[in-house]
Symmetry: C2
Subunit: 206 residues, 2 copies
């Protein structure tokens, strides 16, 4: 007896999955993938260890799912905020600000993101391609914005992907600093500062 296209069973199951993922996110953020145990996750989620395996096939898969969830949500938020802006400057500021804001609201996710992303990329794994794509998509959105900016003479001529890399990394670094508590300023101020430096670096000097 499906309700709204889904059986009750499916709804409950999905709810459990989300509960587990949320608990897992906190545990992985606190202890890192390797030092987090399935017992930790089970305890945080308030279920027995065996239950975890009713909803996920392995520790790795739980981890990857928390990762995917956060990454996709981040990308969508960033993309939608960028779409609201008309020109390259506005879009890039939106990119920086939205990421900083999201990081503030999702510290656990970003802890995971920054401690494990490099690991994913540098140590070949079956999932490597998936995360490569994740980065590529972000970089390409930025690069497209920059290309358009160059066409309109707002951004000076340079390799768009290279410039995108710098925008991305400057933002990345700033978020890391905030996560480590090295910045006292507001998200707004920090975003403006990072944007200001980067924009002067890539804009047409008029």
């Amino acid at each position: 007896m499906p309700i709204l296209g889904r059986t009750k069973k499916e709804v409950v199951s999905e709810f459990r999955c989300l509960e587990i993922l949320e608990a897992a996110r906190g545990v992985f953020a606190r202890k890192g993938f390797n030092n987090a145990t399935m017992d930790d996750v089970a305890e945080a989620a308030g279920v027995a260890k065996g239950t975890l395996y009713l909803y996920f096939p392995s520790k790795r898969e739980i981890f990857l799912e928390t990762f995917r969830q956060g990454a996709v949500a981040l990308q969508e938020e960033v993309r939608s905020k960028m779409d609201e802006e008309a020109d390259a400057a506005g879009k890039i500021l939106a990119f920086v600000r939205t990421r900083l804001e999201y990081a503030e609201r999702n510290r656990d996710f970003f802890r995971i993101y920054y401690t494990e992303f490099n690991n994913m990329l540098t140590h070949p794994a079956p999932v490597r391609q998936e995360f490569q794509d994740l980065y590529d998509r972000q970089a390409n959105v930025l690069a497209e914005v920059l290309r358009e900016g160059m066409r309109r003479k707002q951004v000076r001529k340079m390799d768009p992907l290279a410039a995108a890399g710098i925008v991305y990394d400057a933002t990345r670094g700033w978020i890391a600093q905030r996560l480590l508590g090295w910045s006292q300023s507001s998200v707004e101020d920090d975003a403006n500062f990072v944007f200001d430096v980067i924009w002067r670096g890539i804009a047409c000097s008029k």
Copy 2:
């Protein structure tokens, strides 16, 4: 019978330490700290596992030592190249270029540096402070250069530590891209590009 202030025993012992550290660096770079086993390190070093424990108290300590070694060498090289330059622009270019060059020559070290550094910082440990200091020292050298540049009206007024963070992160990001094989250009070109963008971002617009 000490020779040149050291006994033969000490010399041999130091040599063995270096052998082990070099082997360990490769293993940790390839597999990451958690997936590397002491058997791996022993095999790479061409000794038995027990021998490792004659020279180091634990896996963790071997790892930290490879890390310290590389970080100290990097810092000294960067500092000395920066000292050869007279003004802020030259010093910052030297900072970027020397780091890129060093990364090219010490890929193993940088693999470790980038995959484990965040781990060190975000997961409290007795060593946390040590690595915090390592970063602080680098950032302060940069910040001092920027402060001096501001005094001479070459760099526009801004928080020097914040600006140092951006220089550091843009460089960091670029090295990561090179390690992942995402850049085809020469080190020289890449260094100039990164410097160019950053410098326009922070220099007095004249």
